[in-house]
Every structure is written in C-alpha cells, then in structure tokens.
C-alpha cells in the first residue's frame, strides 16, 4: 500500500490539537474559578512617598490573594494602593472566593503561587508552612511584629519558631448582640456573668419575647457558642488541648461546658422559636430575627461581623438600636476573647513581597482600612481614634483588653471535623441543639469523629 502524505499532515494536526488542548487546560488552571476577580493597581509614575522608610520598588510586581471580595476587597485595595504609591511597585489583587485552600493548593502545585496570600484560617498557615510552601518573612518584619503586637500574635504567626505571618486583621467572636428596645421594654440590663445572663434572658422571656436567637442551621455559629463557653469553664490550657485533640471530647470538661450551654439551648423559654427554628435558621436569619422590623428575639450571639449584617439586612441602627456586651464570664473566668484573624504570608520570596509584608505590620497600613470601618486590627500601635464608631472601638478595646485570647477552635481543627456541614463538631453541636440532654452520646460521637479526623 502506498504511503500517503496524510501522515505528516496528521502529525501536524495532532500537534495543533495537542497545543490547543494544553492551552485550554492552562487557561482553565490560571483562571482557577469563576468567582475570581482581579484588580490591578498601577504604581508606576508615582513619586510622592508618605512613609520615608519605604523602598523604591518601581517595575516590580506583587500578586496578593485573599478571600475578600466586595466591600472588604475595596477597603483592602486602598491599603494596597497606598503601598503601590509609596513604593512604585505594581500590585495585583486576586479574590480567591471562599475556598482559598484549594485555590492556593492548585496554584502552588502549578508552580505559580501569588507572592503574598492573606489566610483566613490559622490552621492553613500551619499546613502550608509544614508543607514548605511559605518563606520566613524575615527579621525586619519580625521586629515590626514584636514592636507593634502583643507576644501572642508572634506565637500565632510562627510554626516551630519561624515567623511566617503577620496578623493584619482580627475578629472578636465574643460579642453578644442585643436589641436595646426589647431590653428596655423588659427592664433587662447588660449582664456580666453567665448567671446574670440567664436571669436577664428570663426577664425578657417574661415580657413576651423568647430572647435567644440561634442560627443553628450553620454549624459554625454553634461551635462559636461552645468555644466561648468552653474557654470560660475549662480555661485556655484545656482549650488548647481540646483544639489539638490532646484531650478527648468525652472529657468531663466538655460535658460541663455543654451542660452550661444547655441552660440556654435546652430551655424552651429562652431559645427563640424552639429547636426547629434554631436548626432551620442560618446565621443571617438569626440576626434579622433580633433586629428586623418585627423582632421575634432579643439576643443573638456571634462575632463582631454581626454589626455588618444588622446594617445590611435590617433597618436597625448599630450603636443605638443594636449594641453588644462581652460574652459573660462564667464562674469568675477572666476576660476572654475567642477570635479569628487574617494572616499575611509570603509564598514567593521577592523584595517587593517582603516589603508588602513589612508594610502590613505597620499601624499605618491598618489605619487606612480601620478608618473605613468593618475592620479591627490586632496591631496595638493602631490609634483607637481612627475607628469610625464607638462599636468598632469597643470591639477593638475588648480584643486588646482581653487577658485570654484564643483562636476559633474549629478553624484550627482539620476541616472535616471543624469546618464541614453535616460532619464533626458542626454536626455534633447541631445534634446537641436538638437533644440537649443527650450529652454522653453526643460527646462520644464527637470524640469518635475527632479521633478519626486527627488520624488517631
């Protein structure tokens, strides 16, 4: 049979198709997700530098990735813009969407990680550091951290003694929000202790409003409740051990904390709408239930971000209609704050990346966002006066004034235990909300799930 000239053509064809396929795959990888939005800041041509210490980085570029989008992205962009105009570097911000772990994992595997990433979970910092994906942020940034932050923040940004991250943003998750009108109607006062909290809640219940709104459809609201109670009943050391599963969930301290929590969850006179409503309502409906036009509850516990939900979703005004008190002390516990934070880490060791990390450790960077609201900095050098309102200032003060600060436990646990709907602690605490008397069974199930998740 005659050999055709088809074959070379075929080979060329194959090549073309192969290139096309590779190009398609490459394109799919680089754009990673539909929700990704990119904003670029051109820093070239700027000559005025506010901070004299900033290096000249004209022509260099920094790529920053964070989960922030919308308003948060816009505010963080202002911080980046300032950095860009101070140094002349060009800064690109990419919003990764919620699943930053996957997005970063993919881009690290693909060999093109962003220069700097802002991680919303301390657990992710440990994971990336132990995988060797992070670089030491260097002595200059380290000095800035020592100078501007309480010691705990250096520990929290370090893995095995190496400092990998700068905590740029923090959250206070020990804030209990209440409807001032309903408090006044019932004659309730702001409680400082758990017993007083129950007394005041009962008073509101007597007035005809079942007080405590729980957004139990979202498991994380329940882990936050539990963490605040546990930090107060068991103390920070036990809290750390439970976080790492060094004590079992069947431990008596866990059972004691759950019994405390059952004071609220197990009392139909206090739990607004009963168990069914609590389990069906997510976080946002649990807030609108308290601050909506016809409120059905008076108290909702969650972090400082409740303020944003109140402003966005209801007609109530934060600061007048809606105030908060610190999560009450239990049996004389010290002022304790459970919180969260966003840590800036360096994935690609470039001078511009180092400079940005250093900049993020300065009060100047934090103050840009702080003055725009929706932001609390763990940086103690930040002037409280820059916060735009009393509520934010109060949140920041509680955070700074706490004797005990611990990260949200569930953020530090393997996500299949601490961060997945229908699994681990989320499912366990939802089960507890539905059956507040079955503590032994539930703690046993949670212990089993935790042991498995921790690979024990």
């Amino acid at each position: 049979m005659k050999k055709y000239h088809v074959k070379p053509r075929g080979a060329r064809f194959f090549l073309v198709v192969l290139i096309a396929v590779v190009a398609m795959i490459a394109a799919a990888c680089s754009s990673s997700s539909d929700t990704t939005t990119t904003q670029e800041t051109g820093g070239e041509g700027s000559t005025t530098t506010a901070a004299g210490s900033m290096p000249d980085l004209s022509g260099q570029s920094v790529e920053v990735a964070a989960v922030w989008s919308g308003n948060e992205q816009a505010n963080f962009q202002k911080v980046l813009d300032q950095f860009a105009s101070d140094t002349g570097a060009s800064v690109t911000f990419t919003s990764t969407g919620d699943d930053i772990a996957t997005v970063l994992g993919t881009s690290i595997e693909g060999g093109s990680p962003p220069t700097v990433a802002i991680l919303p979970q301390p657990g992710l910092l440990n994971e990336l550091a132990s995988k060797g994906s992070l670089t030491d942020i260097g002595p200059i940034a380290g000095d800035l951290v020592d100078q501007n932050y309480a010691p705990v923040w250096r520990d929290l940004g370090s893995v095995d003694g190496t400092l990998y991250g700068v905590w740029f943003k923090a959250a206070n998750k020990s804030t209990v929000w209440y409807n001032t009108q309903l408090f006044d109607d019932a004659g309730a006062t702001v409680p400082a202790t758990w017993d007083d909290f129950l007394t005041q809640a009962k008073k509101i219940s007597d007035s005809g409003i079942t007080p405590v709104s729980v957004g139990g459809a979202d498991g994380w609201t329940l882990t936050d409740w539990f963490e605040n109670v546990y930090l107060r009943t068991a103390g920070p050391d036990m809290y750390d051990q439970l976080t790492t599963n060094d004590i079992q969930w069947t431990d008596q301290s866990v059972k004691d904390a759950l019994s405390k929590l059952a004071d609220v969850f197990g009392d139909p006179a206090l739990l607004s709408g009963g168990v069914d409503t609590a389990l069906q309502n997510g976080f946002v409906p649990s807030v609108t239930r308290v601050f909506g036009d016809s409120p059905e509850a008076a108290i909702v516990y969650e972090g400082d971000f409740v303020a944003g939900v109140i402003s966005d979703e209801t007609n109530s005004v934060v600061g007048t209609d809606a105030l908060f008190f610190a999560f009450p002390s239990i049996d004389g516990s010290e002022p304790s704050v459970v919180g969260g934070g966003d840590v800036a880490v360096l994935l690609d060791d470039t001078p511009a990346g180092q400079a940005l990390i250093q900049y993020l450790a300065t009060p100047e960077a934090a103050e840009i966002w702080a003055s725009n609201g929706g932001f609390v900095s763990p940086n103690k050098a930040v002037d409280p006066a820059v916060y735009p309102d009393d509520i934010t200032r109060q949140i920041a003060t509680e955070l700074a004034g706490a004797t005990v600060f611990r990260f949200d436990m569930s953020d530090l646990q393997p996500p299949e235990f601490g961060g997945t709907p229908g699994q681990g602690s989320w499912a366990g605490l939802q089960d507890f909300l539905a059956h507040p008397t079955e503590i032994d069974r539930i703690t046993q199930e949670m212990a089993d799930a935790a042991n498995k998740a921790f690979g024990g």
Partner: protein, 481 residues
C-alpha cells in the same frame, strides 16, 4: 457526556449489508448517511485510504475525548488507591473506609429513594401533562409554562425552593399556603406561648396548665401569667384586681404579671397590669373530672361556683386557650417520613427536581405523541374502547420507547444529582439529604480535602452509572437494528 459515546462510530462500516433494514419508527427520518447505508448506496466497500482519512477527521475528537474523558477516568481509578495526599499507596483502604462511613450509607439510601421515586414520578407527570395538553385549547401555552423551569439554571431553581420551603410561614411559600388553608378550621388559643410565671407549681398539660396544689371552697387563687407578646393582649382586657372570697366557690384572678420596663414586682398585681379575659378555667377533682368551670372576666377574675365544702380541687387553665398555632411542615428538616427514612428534606428536594424535570419529560413524550398515527387510536375508539382503555392499551404501549428514553435519561440525571442538594437544605439537614455526588465533592473539596477517598466515591458513582449507560446503548442498538 458518556452517553454520546453510544453513537455507532466507524465500526458500523464492518456490518454486513442488510437489505431488509428498516428505519425504526421511533427515529423518524433516520439519516441515510450512516456508513452501512452509504455502502449500499455507493455499492462499494471502503478501502484503507478512506479509513485513514476517517481516522484523521476523528483524531481531534479522539484526542479531546481522551484528554478530558478517558484519562480522567483512569486517573481517578489510580488515585483512589492512594491516600489523602496522593503519595502513599493504600490499596483498597479508601473503599473500605467509604463503605463504613455513615454518610456514605445515608447517601446510598437516599440515592435508592431518588432513583426509585424521582424518574418514575417525573415520567408519569410528563405523560399526564403531555396527554392532557393535547386535548385542551391552550395546550401550547400550558406546555411552555410547564417547560419553563428547564430554562432556569438549577442553581437558581435551588435558591427558589430553598426560599419556598423556609420553615417560617412568614417567609416560606409552601408553609404560607399550608397555614393559610389550615387557618380556616384551625383556631389557635389567644394565650399561646404564655405560661404561669411560677412554672414550678404548675403542671404543663401542653397545651394548658394545671396547679400542683389543691384549693377548696372560699379560697382565692392568683395565677400570674408571663411571656405573652404585648401585641396579643386582648383589647378588652381591664386592670386586674383580686376578687373577694365567696362561700361555696373558688374565686381567683388570671393576670399578665408584667409591666413595661420590668417595673412591676413578680407575683404582685402592680398598677397597669391587666387581667386576661375569656380564659377557660376549670376545677378538677381527685378523679380527674371537672366539677366546675368558668371563664375569666375582662379584669381576669373568675368564680368557680358549686364547689362542695371539704372538696379539694386543682385549677386547670384549659388547653383551648393555649392551643399553639400550627406552623406548617419543617420541609427541610431531618425528621424521617417513614420509620426507616428518608428524611423529609429528601422528599422536598425531589419535589423541586420534579418541578424542573417534569417539563422535560412532557416535551419528549408530547413529541412522541404527535408522531403517533391517529388512526390506531381512532380504530380502538370505533371498536368501542373507553378513553382509559385507549390510553392504557394503545397510547402507552406505542409510547413505550419514548417513555424508556425519558426514564433512562432521568435515571442518569438523578444518579449524578448534586446542585439541588448542595443548595436547598440548610446546613443542619444537608447531611440527611446527602447523595453520592455531593458526598464526593464534600470529601474531595468541600472541607474534607481527601481526594483519595473522593476518587473512590467517584469510581463507585461511575460503576453505578455504567449499567444504565450500557442499557441505554443496548436499547439504542436494538432501535437501530
């Protein structure tokens, strides 16, 4: 889509010429360009040259299919034998773990419910709509409306049903309708949600309350009530007062022991505190029967007359005053609909699925109906068959091939259902609504980050789909042959 692989492809050229081949009824206007027929028309066999050219034209498609279908399948199988990080070979451990996880078992159970219920009901609904819309004047308009949900993205449909199934009747459409209908004969008690402040001394009859202690003739009973929302205090309520004692009767007062701003004292009738009128109060003797009953006055006072001297009775606040308002069904809850499941949330999601897919079934069946010869049905009618008999014995058997296409397509769709189950249930019931595709995603990406186990689930799901696709190919072939 794997089902696209079912088209005959080049191997058709090897078929022996079949002179008696008839194009099936179910595929009107079958294309004569198929190789076997082409061979008949042109009257010659294809040589190596044609096959080579054919291959060249197929090559791009084969490469793309290879890269995005075949390679991922084999990679997934390979990956399922490795651990979470993908660098340790662990044999069948992922499979062992998969079948011992409670969430997988829930997924399989739900999957069975889905496969058994959803495609069948959607096909039946589609058949009903198709047959009925053929008969009515605005059939096309009706069909368009039924078909419209197919034009909405499944994600948006999920959001719509999430809202429609909200538990609160103020927000959820389904419960708003149910409670509105129920309110025609349901009369909730005016004092629902309220309770005596002194709960320890009352037995909760749920609904209703009864005193623990007993009273005799001449006693005055004070019942302090709390937790009544202020907007539900009856407008005829007057300031409460303590009634005087009466011989041969028990007198008392039921009042709302709450002053705005918490000004009043508990257990004391403070100024401004009002009585609760029209509450049924009964005196219950030791045997449990009512010896006397009364209704409270606007100022909350009541007189239980005819109490024999020496008789000790308990005071009951009658249930009808406290009957709770029915709040509808917890559509997205975890209560099982039968003792062995599934959870009600699964049924609710199936309803959403039907809303979307019944229109698809209807369209295909309607197309089959319109291509069906009228004469057969007419003949049956002339022979005296009733409409039901015509439908049952003529229409359905003739439609059978189309019904099978619809059913099989829906089964494949149901096996890989994901979006609705991700979106509709709240976090507290998602685990109870779980299916394999969602479990796969949750394990691999949505928190679990164990792509080894996820791959094992993927292989399992693939094995579940294979028989259906195989069946589909077989049916396709037999249609053609």
């Amino acid at each position: 889509m794997p089902e696209d692989l079912a088209s005959p492809g080049p191997q058709g050229s090897q078929r022996a010429p079949d002179a008696t081949q008839v194009v099936s009824e179910a595929r009107p206007g079958g294309e004569p360009e198929r190789p076997a027929e082409l061979e008949q028309i042109t009257g010659r066999r294809f040589g190596g040259r044609e096959i080579a050219i054919g291959l060249i034209f197929l090559l791009p498609a084969l490469i793309v299919l290879g890269a995005i279908v075949v390679y991922p399948i084999f990679f997934t199988v390979w990956r399922s034998f490795y651990d979470r990080l993908g660098d340790t070979f662990i044999g069948l451990d992922n499979y062992r773990e998969m079948f011992t996880r409670p969430s997988t078992l829930i997924s399989i159970k739900n999957m069975v419910i889905w496969v058994v219920v959803a495609p069948f009901v959607a096909t039946v609904l589609g058949l009903m709509f198709a047959v009925l819309t053929e008969r009515i004047a605005l059939g096309t308009a009706f069909k368009t409306i039924i078909f419209l949900p197919m034009a909405v993205s499944f994600l948006a449909s999920g959001v719509i049903f999430r809202l429609a199934f909200e538990a609160s009747p103020e927000r959820g459409l389904a419960n708003a309708m149910l409670t509105t209908v129920a309110s025609v004969w349901q009369h909730p008690g005016p004092y629902r949600d309220s309770r005596p402040s002194d709960t320890a001394n009352f037995e909760n009859l749920d609904p209703g309350f009864q005193t623990m202690s007993t009273f005799g003739s001449g006693d005055v009973v004070k019942v302090a009530m709390v937790a009544l929302p202020t907007d539900r205090v009856p407008h005829q309520a007057a300031l409460a007062r303590i009634p005087s004692t009466e011989a041969g009767a028990i007198t008392g007062v039921v009042w709302l022991d709450f002053s705005k701003g918490g000004a009043g004292q508990p257990g004391v009738i403070d100024p401004n505190e009002v009585g609760l009128p029209d509450m049924a109060v009964r005196a219950i003797d030791r045997s449990g029967s009512a010896v006397s009953s009364a209704k409270t006055m606007p100022d909350g006072t009541f007189t239980l007359a005819g109490i024999p001297p020496g008789e000790q009775v308990k005071i009951e606040l009658a249930p009808q005053s406290f009957k709770p308002k029915w709040q509808g069904i917890i559509w997205l809850g975890t209560r099982p609909v039968t003792p062995i499941g599934p959870a009600i949330v699964t049924i609710s999601i199936i309803i959403a699925f039907l809303w979307i897919w019944a229109g698809f079934a209807m369209m295909l069946i309607a197309a089959g109906l319109s291509s069906m010869p009228e004469e057969v049905q007419e003949a049956a009618r002339v022979d005296g068959a009733t409409e039901w008999q015509v439908f049952r014995r003529v229409t359905v058997p003739l439609l059978w091939p189309v019904l099978m296409v619809v059913l099989v397509t829906l089964v494949i769709n149901v096996l890989k259902i994901f979006d609705l189950i991700l979106i509709i249930p709240p976090g507290s019931s998602q685990a109870d609504a779980n299916v394999i595709a969602l479990e796969l995603w949750r394990v691999s990406f949505g928190g679990g980050r164990d792509q080894g186990l996820g791959s094992a689930l993927g292989v399992f799901l693939f094995l579940l789909v294979v028989p259906v696709i195989f069946f589909n190919i077989r049916r396709f072939r037999s249609d053609e042959g």
